[in-house]
Subunit: 237 residues, 2 copies
DNA sequence: TAAAAAGACTGACATATATCATAAGAATCC
DNA sequence: GGATTCTTATGATATATGTCAGTCTTTTTA
Protein backbone atom coordinates (compact mmCIF):
# COMPACT_ATOMS: atom_id res chain seq x y z
CA UNK A 1 0.00 0.00 0.00
CA UNK A 2 3.00 2.29 0.01
CA UNK A 3 3.98 4.29 -2.95
CA UNK A 4 5.96 7.26 -4.14
CA UNK A 5 3.59 10.12 -4.55
CA UNK A 6 5.61 12.72 -6.30
CA UNK A 7 8.57 14.37 -4.69
CA UNK A 8 7.90 17.91 -3.60
CA UNK A 9 11.32 19.44 -3.03
CA UNK A 10 12.10 20.24 0.62
CA UNK A 11 12.45 23.88 -0.41
CA UNK A 12 8.70 23.96 -0.97
CA UNK A 13 7.65 21.57 1.77
CA UNK A 14 5.04 23.07 4.07
CA UNK A 15 6.04 20.81 6.95
CA UNK A 16 9.62 21.97 6.90
CA UNK A 17 8.94 25.01 9.04
CA UNK A 18 7.94 22.68 11.88
CA UNK A 19 11.06 20.59 11.53
CA UNK A 20 14.69 20.67 12.53
CA UNK A 21 15.37 21.56 8.89
CA UNK A 22 13.56 24.84 9.40
CA UNK A 23 16.57 27.10 9.16
CA UNK A 24 18.95 25.02 7.17
CA UNK A 25 20.68 27.07 4.45
CA UNK A 26 19.41 26.66 0.89
CA UNK A 27 22.46 24.71 -0.18
CA UNK A 28 22.01 22.01 2.43
CA UNK A 29 18.28 21.80 1.96
CA UNK A 30 19.02 20.97 -1.67
CA UNK A 31 21.42 18.17 -0.76
CA UNK A 32 18.73 16.68 1.42
CA UNK A 33 16.02 17.33 -1.11
CA UNK A 34 17.88 15.68 -3.97
CA UNK A 35 18.33 12.52 -1.96
CA UNK A 36 15.07 12.14 -0.15
CA UNK A 37 12.15 10.00 -1.12
CA UNK A 38 8.56 10.72 -0.19
CA UNK A 39 6.47 7.66 0.54
CA UNK A 40 2.81 7.30 1.49
CA UNK A 41 1.95 4.95 4.30
CA UNK A 42 -1.34 3.53 5.50
CA UNK A 43 -2.43 3.11 9.08
CA UNK A 44 -0.96 -0.01 10.63
CA UNK A 45 2.12 -0.13 8.43
CA UNK A 46 5.48 -0.50 10.09
CA UNK A 47 8.13 2.08 9.33
CA UNK A 48 10.89 0.18 11.08
CA UNK A 49 11.37 -2.52 13.67
CA UNK A 50 13.31 -2.50 16.89
CA UNK A 51 16.59 -4.34 16.47
CA UNK A 52 17.04 -3.59 12.78
CA UNK A 53 19.71 -1.38 11.30
CA UNK A 54 18.86 2.21 10.45
CA UNK A 55 19.67 3.20 6.89
CA UNK A 56 18.56 6.79 7.15
CA UNK A 57 16.12 9.01 8.91
CA UNK A 58 12.46 9.76 8.38
CA UNK A 59 10.85 13.16 8.30
CA UNK A 60 7.08 13.25 8.65
CA UNK A 61 5.24 15.36 6.11
CA UNK A 62 1.76 14.44 7.32
CA UNK A 63 0.11 11.80 9.47
CA UNK A 64 0.87 10.34 12.86
CA UNK A 65 3.37 7.68 13.85
CA UNK A 66 3.69 5.82 17.14
CA UNK A 67 7.13 4.99 18.46
CA UNK A 68 6.97 2.01 20.76
CA UNK A 69 8.84 -0.79 22.41
CA UNK A 70 7.65 -4.33 22.80
CA UNK A 71 8.13 -5.51 26.37
CA UNK A 72 9.16 -9.03 27.26
CA UNK A 73 5.56 -9.85 28.18
CA UNK A 74 4.54 -9.01 24.62
CA UNK A 75 2.75 -5.79 25.47
CA UNK A 76 3.77 -2.60 23.80
CA UNK A 77 4.79 0.61 25.47
CA UNK A 78 4.31 3.69 23.37
CA UNK A 79 7.25 6.04 23.90
CA UNK A 80 5.68 8.93 22.04
CA UNK A 81 3.60 9.96 19.06
CA UNK A 82 5.21 11.87 16.21
CA UNK A 83 3.58 14.14 13.70
CA UNK A 84 4.38 16.53 10.85
CA UNK A 85 7.84 18.01 11.02
CA UNK A 86 9.15 15.35 13.40
CA UNK A 87 12.30 13.39 12.70
CA UNK A 88 12.34 9.68 13.31
CA UNK A 89 15.24 7.33 13.80
CA UNK A 90 18.04 9.86 14.06
CA UNK A 91 18.84 8.73 17.55
CA UNK A 92 19.68 5.20 16.41
CA UNK A 93 21.72 6.63 13.55
CA UNK A 94 23.71 8.99 15.79
CA UNK A 95 24.05 6.33 18.46
CA UNK A 96 25.44 4.01 15.81
CA UNK A 97 23.23 1.21 16.99
CA UNK A 98 20.19 -0.67 15.78
CA UNK A 99 16.77 0.78 16.35
CA UNK A 100 15.87 0.63 20.03
CA UNK A 101 12.17 0.97 19.21
CA UNK A 102 9.66 0.37 16.45
CA UNK A 103 7.54 2.80 14.49
CA UNK A 104 4.02 2.20 13.22
CA UNK A 105 1.67 4.47 11.29
CA UNK A 106 -1.31 5.51 13.41
CA UNK A 107 -2.87 7.89 10.93
CA UNK A 108 -2.19 7.68 7.17
CA UNK A 109 1.08 9.44 6.56
CA UNK A 110 3.44 10.88 4.00
CA UNK A 111 6.98 10.47 5.12
CA UNK A 112 10.31 11.37 3.55
CA UNK A 113 13.19 8.99 3.83
CA UNK A 114 16.60 10.63 3.87
CA UNK A 115 19.49 8.23 3.41
CA UNK A 116 22.11 8.03 6.11
CA UNK A 117 24.88 9.52 3.96
CA UNK A 118 22.98 12.65 2.95
CA UNK A 119 21.96 13.25 6.53
CA UNK A 120 25.37 12.65 8.07
CA UNK A 121 27.12 14.73 5.44
CA UNK A 122 24.85 17.65 6.10
CA UNK A 123 25.40 17.19 9.80
CA UNK A 124 29.18 17.20 9.52
CA UNK A 125 29.32 20.21 7.25
CA UNK A 126 26.89 22.29 9.26
CA UNK A 127 27.74 22.63 12.93
CA UNK A 128 24.71 24.76 13.84
CA UNK A 129 22.45 22.10 12.38
CA UNK A 130 24.34 19.41 14.26
CA UNK A 131 23.89 21.44 17.42
CA UNK A 132 20.19 21.78 16.86
CA UNK A 133 19.88 18.02 16.45
CA UNK A 134 21.87 17.46 19.61
CA UNK A 135 19.74 19.98 21.40
CA UNK A 136 16.62 18.07 20.39
CA UNK A 137 18.20 14.84 21.57
CA UNK A 138 19.06 16.37 24.95
CA UNK A 139 15.59 17.70 25.33
CA UNK A 140 14.08 14.32 24.60
CA UNK A 141 16.27 12.81 27.26
CA UNK A 142 14.84 15.20 29.82
CA UNK A 143 11.32 14.32 28.70
CA UNK A 144 12.07 10.65 29.12
CA UNK A 145 13.35 11.21 32.65
CA UNK A 146 10.07 12.91 33.43
CA UNK A 147 8.11 10.04 31.95
CA UNK A 148 10.06 7.50 33.94
CA UNK A 149 9.43 9.43 37.15
CA UNK A 150 5.73 9.69 36.39
CA UNK A 151 5.55 6.01 35.56
CA UNK A 152 6.97 4.98 38.91
CA UNK A 153 5.41 7.61 41.13
CA UNK A 154 1.99 8.30 39.74
CA UNK A 155 -1.18 6.24 39.66
CA UNK A 156 -2.78 5.02 36.46
CA UNK A 157 -5.59 7.52 36.90
CA UNK A 158 -3.13 10.39 37.16
CA UNK A 159 -1.18 9.19 34.16
CA UNK A 160 -4.26 8.73 32.02
CA UNK A 161 -5.46 12.23 32.87
CA UNK A 162 -2.05 13.53 31.91
CA UNK A 163 -1.95 11.64 28.62
CA UNK A 164 -5.34 13.08 27.70
CA UNK A 165 -4.11 16.60 28.39
CA UNK A 166 -1.03 16.01 26.26
CA UNK A 167 -3.12 14.61 23.43
CA UNK A 168 -5.26 17.71 23.74
CA UNK A 169 -2.20 19.90 23.39
CA UNK A 170 -0.87 18.09 20.34
CA UNK A 171 -4.02 17.10 18.51
CA UNK A 172 -6.68 19.27 20.06
CA UNK A 173 -9.19 21.29 18.08
CA UNK A 174 -10.66 24.05 20.20
CA UNK A 175 -14.40 24.41 20.46
CA UNK A 176 -15.45 26.94 23.05
CA UNK A 177 -15.01 25.46 26.48
CA UNK A 178 -14.06 22.05 25.19
CA UNK A 179 -11.22 20.64 23.14
CA UNK A 180 -11.63 17.74 20.77
CA UNK A 181 -8.74 15.35 20.36
CA UNK A 182 -8.64 14.94 16.60
CA UNK A 183 -6.85 11.63 16.53
CA UNK A 184 -8.31 8.16 16.59
CA UNK A 185 -6.56 5.86 19.02
CA UNK A 186 -7.85 2.50 20.19
CA UNK A 187 -8.30 1.94 23.92
CA UNK A 188 -5.46 -0.51 23.66
CA UNK A 189 -3.18 2.19 22.23
CA UNK A 190 -4.12 4.62 24.96
CA UNK A 191 -3.34 1.86 27.43
CA UNK A 192 0.07 1.44 25.80
CA UNK A 193 0.77 5.12 26.20
CA UNK A 194 -0.21 5.11 29.86
CA UNK A 195 1.39 1.76 30.55
CA UNK A 196 -1.62 -0.11 31.82
CA UNK A 197 -4.25 -2.68 30.86
CA UNK A 198 -6.85 -1.88 28.22
CA UNK A 199 -9.70 -2.60 30.64
CA UNK A 200 -8.33 -0.06 33.09
CA UNK A 201 -8.35 2.64 30.44
CA UNK A 202 -11.92 1.79 29.50
CA UNK A 203 -13.04 1.90 33.11
CA UNK A 204 -11.25 5.14 33.89
CA UNK A 205 -12.50 6.81 30.73
CA UNK A 206 -16.09 6.03 31.61
CA UNK A 207 -15.41 7.35 35.08
CA UNK A 208 -13.96 10.57 33.63
CA UNK A 209 -17.01 10.78 31.41
CA UNK A 210 -19.36 10.31 34.33
CA UNK A 211 -17.52 13.09 36.16
CA UNK A 212 -17.97 15.34 33.14
CA UNK A 213 -14.25 15.69 32.52
CA UNK A 214 -14.50 14.29 29.02
CA UNK A 215 -17.11 13.32 26.44
CA UNK A 216 -17.04 10.91 23.55
CA UNK A 217 -17.81 12.08 20.02
CA UNK A 218 -17.77 9.04 17.81
CA UNK A 219 -14.30 7.57 18.13
CA UNK A 220 -12.85 10.81 19.40
CA UNK A 221 -12.42 12.06 22.91
CA UNK A 222 -13.47 15.58 23.83
CA UNK A 223 -11.87 17.22 26.82
CA UNK A 224 -14.55 19.16 28.65
CA UNK A 225 -12.69 20.13 31.79
CA UNK A 226 -8.98 20.72 31.35
CA UNK A 227 -8.60 22.10 34.81
CA UNK A 228 -10.31 19.11 36.36
CA UNK A 229 -8.07 16.72 34.44
CA UNK A 230 -5.02 18.74 35.42
CA UNK A 231 -6.01 18.51 39.05
CA UNK A 232 -6.51 14.78 38.67
CA UNK A 233 -3.25 14.32 36.84
CA UNK A 234 -1.20 15.53 39.72
CA UNK A 235 -2.58 15.42 43.21
CA UNK A 236 0.06 17.74 44.56
CA UNK A 237 0.24 20.37 41.84
CA UNK B 1 33.30 20.06 53.25
CA UNK B 2 34.35 20.50 49.65
CA UNK B 3 37.74 21.71 48.71
CA UNK B 4 40.23 21.89 45.92
CA UNK B 5 42.62 19.06 46.30
CA UNK B 6 45.32 19.82 43.83
CA UNK B 7 44.73 19.80 40.13
CA UNK B 8 46.20 16.80 38.37
CA UNK B 9 46.22 17.69 34.68
CA UNK B 10 43.80 15.71 32.54
CA UNK B 11 46.80 14.43 30.59
CA UNK B 12 47.77 12.40 33.62
CA UNK B 13 44.29 11.60 34.93
CA UNK B 14 43.78 7.88 35.43
CA UNK B 15 40.02 8.17 35.02
CA UNK B 16 40.31 9.75 31.62
CA UNK B 17 40.61 6.43 29.82
CA UNK B 18 37.11 5.58 31.02
CA UNK B 19 35.67 8.83 29.82
CA UNK B 20 34.47 10.49 26.66
CA UNK B 21 37.76 12.39 26.74
CA UNK B 22 39.60 9.15 26.19
CA UNK B 23 40.80 9.87 22.69
CA UNK B 24 40.79 13.60 22.59
CA UNK B 25 43.94 14.99 20.93
CA UNK B 26 46.64 16.43 23.23
CA UNK B 27 45.86 19.99 22.26
CA UNK B 28 42.21 19.79 23.30
CA UNK B 29 42.94 17.86 26.46
CA UNK B 30 45.15 20.79 27.45
CA UNK B 31 42.40 23.34 26.84
CA UNK B 32 40.14 21.34 29.09
CA UNK B 33 42.87 20.71 31.61
CA UNK B 34 43.81 24.36 31.93
CA UNK B 35 40.25 25.31 32.72
CA UNK B 36 39.03 22.55 34.92
CA UNK B 37 38.84 22.52 38.67
CA UNK B 38 39.01 19.37 40.78
CA UNK B 39 36.83 19.41 43.87
CA UNK B 40 36.34 16.84 46.62
CA UNK B 41 32.81 16.09 47.72
CA UNK B 42 31.44 14.23 50.70
CA UNK B 43 28.54 11.79 50.68
CA UNK B 44 25.22 13.62 50.79
CA UNK B 45 26.45 16.80 49.11
CA UNK B 46 24.50 18.15 46.20
CA UNK B 47 26.34 18.75 42.95
CA UNK B 48 23.46 20.56 41.32
CA UNK B 49 19.73 20.95 41.63
CA UNK B 50 16.99 20.37 39.12
CA UNK B 51 15.75 23.66 37.72
CA UNK B 52 19.03 25.53 38.05
CA UNK B 53 21.19 26.75 35.22
CA UNK B 54 24.18 24.65 34.17
CA UNK B 55 27.47 26.55 34.09
CA UNK B 56 29.60 23.70 32.89
CA UNK B 57 29.94 19.97 33.03
CA UNK B 58 31.28 17.60 35.65
CA UNK B 59 33.63 14.73 35.07
CA UNK B 60 33.90 12.15 37.83
CA UNK B 61 37.40 11.22 38.88
CA UNK B 62 36.35 8.95 41.73
CA UNK B 63 33.28 8.25 43.82
CA UNK B 64 29.64 7.68 42.99
CA UNK B 65 26.90 10.17 42.19
CA UNK B 66 23.17 9.60 41.96
CA UNK B 67 21.17 11.47 39.34
CA UNK B 68 17.57 11.78 40.40
CA UNK B 69 14.32 13.61 39.96
CA UNK B 70 12.00 14.66 42.73
CA UNK B 71 8.44 13.67 41.91
CA UNK B 72 5.43 15.79 42.78
CA UNK B 73 4.68 13.50 45.74
CA UNK B 74 8.09 14.38 47.16
CA UNK B 75 9.66 10.99 46.52
CA UNK B 76 12.78 10.74 44.48
CA UNK B 77 13.33 8.65 41.40
CA UNK B 78 16.93 7.77 40.72
CA UNK B 79 17.58 7.96 36.99
CA UNK B 80 21.00 6.39 37.19
CA UNK B 81 24.22 6.16 39.15
CA UNK B 82 27.39 7.65 37.74
CA UNK B 83 30.96 6.73 38.52
CA UNK B 84 34.53 7.45 37.47
CA UNK B 85 34.89 8.65 33.92
CA UNK B 86 31.25 9.63 33.62
CA UNK B 87 30.17 13.07 32.46
CA UNK B 88 27.39 14.86 34.26
CA UNK B 89 25.21 17.69 33.16
CA UNK B 90 26.19 17.82 29.50
CA UNK B 91 22.68 17.05 28.44
CA UNK B 92 21.29 20.19 30.07
CA UNK B 93 24.13 22.21 28.56
CA UNK B 94 23.59 20.87 25.06
CA UNK B 95 19.83 21.11 25.42
CA UNK B 96 20.28 24.74 26.42
CA UNK B 97 17.92 24.31 29.32
CA UNK B 98 18.08 24.17 33.08
CA UNK B 99 19.00 20.93 34.78
CA UNK B 100 16.15 18.46 34.44
CA UNK B 101 17.46 16.44 37.38
CA UNK B 102 19.56 16.74 40.51
CA UNK B 103 22.87 15.14 41.43
CA UNK B 104 23.93 14.01 44.89
CA UNK B 105 27.13 12.35 46.07
CA UNK B 106 26.49 8.77 47.15
CA UNK B 107 30.09 7.83 47.82
CA UNK B 108 32.81 10.42 48.57
CA UNK B 109 33.94 11.77 45.24
CA UNK B 110 36.51 13.83 43.39
CA UNK B 111 34.93 15.63 40.52
CA UNK B 112 36.29 18.01 37.93
CA UNK B 113 34.23 20.98 36.89
CA UNK B 114 34.76 22.12 33.32
CA UNK B 115 33.27 25.51 32.53
CA UNK B 116 30.73 25.75 29.77
CA UNK B 117 32.96 27.77 27.43
CA UNK B 118 35.92 25.40 27.51
CA UNK B 119 33.62 22.46 26.90
CA UNK B 120 31.63 24.05 24.10
CA UNK B 121 34.73 25.41 22.39
CA UNK B 122 36.31 21.97 22.36
CA UNK B 123 33.08 20.55 21.06
CA UNK B 124 32.81 23.00 18.19
CA UNK B 125 36.40 22.64 17.13
CA UNK B 126 36.45 18.87 17.27
CA UNK B 127 33.70 17.18 15.30
CA UNK B 128 34.69 13.61 16.18
CA UNK B 129 34.48 14.53 19.86
CA UNK B 130 31.11 16.18 19.30
CA UNK B 131 29.96 13.02 17.56
CA UNK B 132 31.07 10.87 20.44
CA UNK B 133 29.12 13.03 22.88
CA UNK B 134 26.06 12.84 20.65
CA UNK B 135 26.51 9.12 20.39
CA UNK B 136 26.51 8.84 24.17
CA UNK B 137 23.40 10.98 24.35
CA UNK B 138 21.61 8.80 21.80
CA UNK B 139 22.59 5.71 23.66
CA UNK B 140 21.26 7.09 26.93
CA UNK B 141 17.98 7.83 25.23
CA UNK B 142 17.65 4.19 24.24
CA UNK B 143 18.43 3.14 27.80
CA UNK B 144 15.75 5.45 29.13
CA UNK B 145 13.19 3.98 26.75
CA UNK B 146 14.06 0.58 28.10
CA UNK B 147 13.68 1.80 31.66
CA UNK B 148 10.32 3.34 30.93
CA UNK B 149 9.10 0.11 29.39
CA UNK B 150 10.32 -1.91 32.34
CA UNK B 151 8.72 0.53 34.76
CA UNK B 152 5.31 0.14 33.21
CA UNK B 153 5.42 -3.53 32.28
CA UNK B 154 7.35 -5.27 35.00
CA UNK B 155 6.55 -6.03 38.62
CA UNK B 156 8.50 -4.56 41.50
CA UNK B 157 10.06 -7.94 42.17
CA UNK B 158 11.31 -8.18 38.60
CA UNK B 159 12.65 -4.66 38.67
CA UNK B 160 14.43 -5.12 41.98
CA UNK B 161 16.09 -8.29 40.73
CA UNK B 162 17.18 -6.40 37.64
CA UNK B 163 18.55 -3.46 39.62
CA UNK B 164 20.60 -5.85 41.74
CA UNK B 165 22.08 -7.46 38.63
CA UNK B 166 22.97 -4.05 37.22
CA UNK B 167 24.57 -2.99 40.48
CA UNK B 168 26.51 -6.22 40.36
CA UNK B 169 27.75 -5.39 36.88
CA UNK B 170 28.81 -1.87 37.77
CA UNK B 171 30.05 -2.24 41.31
CA UNK B 172 30.53 -5.96 41.72
CA UNK B 173 33.65 -7.54 43.16
CA UNK B 174 33.90 -11.16 42.11
CA UNK B 175 34.41 -13.83 44.74
CA UNK B 176 34.08 -17.32 43.34
CA UNK B 177 30.43 -18.10 42.76
CA UNK B 178 29.25 -14.88 44.34
CA UNK B 179 29.59 -11.22 43.54
CA UNK B 180 29.69 -8.53 46.19
CA UNK B 181 28.15 -5.17 45.39
CA UNK B 182 30.79 -2.81 46.69
CA UNK B 183 28.58 0.20 47.15
CA UNK B 184 26.57 1.22 50.17
CA UNK B 185 23.03 2.23 49.32
CA UNK B 186 20.21 2.67 51.80
CA UNK B 187 17.06 0.65 51.30
CA UNK B 188 15.38 3.93 50.54
CA UNK B 189 17.85 4.62 47.74
CA UNK B 190 17.36 1.17 46.29
CA UNK B 191 13.63 1.86 46.44
CA UNK B 192 14.20 5.09 44.52
CA UNK B 193 16.08 3.21 41.83
CA UNK B 194 13.36 0.61 41.48
CA UNK B 195 10.56 3.11 41.88
CA UNK B 196 8.78 1.61 44.85
CA UNK B 197 8.29 1.97 48.60
CA UNK B 198 11.17 1.35 50.99
CA UNK B 199 9.22 -1.33 52.83
CA UNK B 200 8.69 -3.25 49.62
CA UNK B 201 12.43 -3.33 48.98
CA UNK B 202 13.09 -4.53 52.51
CA UNK B 203 10.52 -7.27 52.21
CA UNK B 204 11.68 -8.42 48.79
CA UNK B 205 15.33 -8.39 49.81
CA UNK B 206 14.62 -10.65 52.77
CA UNK B 207 12.67 -12.88 50.45
CA UNK B 208 15.59 -13.01 48.01
CA UNK B 209 17.84 -13.79 50.94
CA UNK B 210 15.58 -16.58 52.12
CA UNK B 211 15.65 -18.00 48.60
CA UNK B 212 19.44 -17.88 48.63
CA UNK B 213 19.65 -15.45 45.74
CA UNK B 214 21.54 -12.89 47.79
CA UNK B 215 23.28 -12.53 51.14
CA UNK B 216 24.03 -9.53 53.30
CA UNK B 217 27.58 -8.71 54.33
CA UNK B 218 27.44 -5.76 56.65
CA UNK B 219 25.80 -3.00 54.67
CA UNK B 220 26.63 -4.62 51.39
CA UNK B 221 24.62 -6.99 49.27
CA UNK B 222 26.22 -10.13 47.86
CA UNK B 223 24.71 -11.71 44.80
CA UNK B 224 24.83 -15.46 45.24
CA UNK B 225 22.75 -16.60 42.30
CA UNK B 226 22.97 -14.39 39.23
CA UNK B 227 21.10 -16.83 37.11
CA UNK B 228 18.29 -17.05 39.61
CA UNK B 229 17.98 -13.29 39.77
CA UNK B 230 18.08 -13.08 36.00
CA UNK B 231 15.26 -15.56 35.78
CA UNK B 232 13.31 -13.56 38.35
CA UNK B 233 14.01 -10.27 36.62
CA UNK B 234 12.26 -11.28 33.48
CA UNK B 235 9.70 -14.00 33.55
CA UNK B 236 9.73 -14.41 29.80
CA UNK B 237 13.44 -14.22 29.02
C1' DT C 1 -25.53 -8.55 3.26
C1' DA C 2 -24.50 -12.34 6.12
C1' DA C 3 -20.76 -14.00 8.68
C1' DA C 4 -16.68 -13.34 11.08
C1' DA C 5 -13.43 -10.76 13.47
C1' DA C 6 -12.07 -6.99 16.24
C1' DG C 7 -12.99 -3.62 19.56
C1' DA C 8 -15.55 -1.68 23.50
C1' DC C 9 -17.52 -2.48 27.66
C1' DT C 10 -18.96 -4.56 32.28
C1' DG C 11 -18.55 -7.66 36.15
C1' DA C 12 -16.23 -10.77 39.38
C1' DC C 13 -12.18 -11.81 41.51
C1' DA C 14 -7.25 -12.19 42.90
C1' DT C 15 -3.23 -10.05 44.40
C1' DA C 16 0.81 -7.18 44.44
C1' DT C 17 2.09 -3.42 46.62
C1' DA C 18 1.31 1.02 49.21
C1' DT C 19 0.38 2.69 53.63
C1' DC C 20 0.29 2.85 58.54
C1' DA C 21 1.91 1.33 62.90
C1' DT C 22 5.26 -0.44 65.85
C1' DA C 23 9.61 -2.16 67.41
C1' DA C 24 14.45 -3.49 67.33
C1' DG C 25 19.22 -2.10 65.86
C1' DA C 26 22.59 1.05 64.32
C1' DA C 27 24.54 5.41 63.91
C1' DT C 28 25.06 10.08 65.53
C1' DC C 29 25.23 13.64 68.76
C1' DC C 30 25.94 16.20 72.86
C1' DG D 1 27.86 6.89 77.29
C1' DG D 2 23.22 7.92 77.45
C1' DA D 3 19.87 10.13 74.53
C1' DT D 4 18.20 10.92 70.16
C1' DT D 5 17.60 10.22 65.53
C1' DC D 6 17.88 7.32 61.45
C1' DT D 7 17.56 2.80 59.33
C1' DT D 8 15.95 -1.74 59.02
C1' DA D 9 12.53 -4.90 59.88
C1' DT D 10 7.85 -7.04 60.42
C1' DG D 11 2.84 -7.17 60.76
C1' DA D 12 -1.87 -5.71 59.67
C1' DT D 13 -4.74 -3.67 56.38
C1' DA D 14 -6.65 -1.27 52.35
C1' DT D 15 -6.96 -0.72 47.62
C1' DA D 16 -5.73 0.10 42.92
C1' DT D 17 -5.20 -2.41 39.17
C1' DG D 18 -4.42 -6.77 36.54
C1' DT D 19 -6.65 -10.87 34.84
C1' DC D 20 -10.34 -13.69 33.23
C1' DA D 21 -14.85 -14.27 31.41
C1' DG D 22 -18.73 -12.88 29.01
C1' DT D 23 -21.78 -9.61 26.23
C1' DC D 24 -22.65 -6.13 23.13
C1' DT D 25 -21.25 -3.20 19.25
C1' DT D 26 -18.73 -1.93 15.34
C1' DT D 27 -15.88 -2.95 11.52
C1' DT D 28 -14.13 -5.94 8.10
C1' DT D 29 -14.44 -9.63 5.07
C1' DA D 30 -16.11 -12.70 1.79
Amino acid sequence: MSGHSGNTPCELCASRKFSLFSDLPEQHVCTISDNKNLISHKKGQILYYEGTKPLGIFCINSGVVKIYKTASNGKEQIIHLSQKGDFLGYSALLGEENYTNSAMIVEDAKICFIPKEAFLTTLSSNTPFFKRITKALSHELGVMEEKLTDATQKSIRERLAFVLLQLGNSYGVEGGESQKIDLVLSREEIASMVGTATESVIRLLSEFKKDNLIALEGKRIVIKDRRGLARLSDFYA
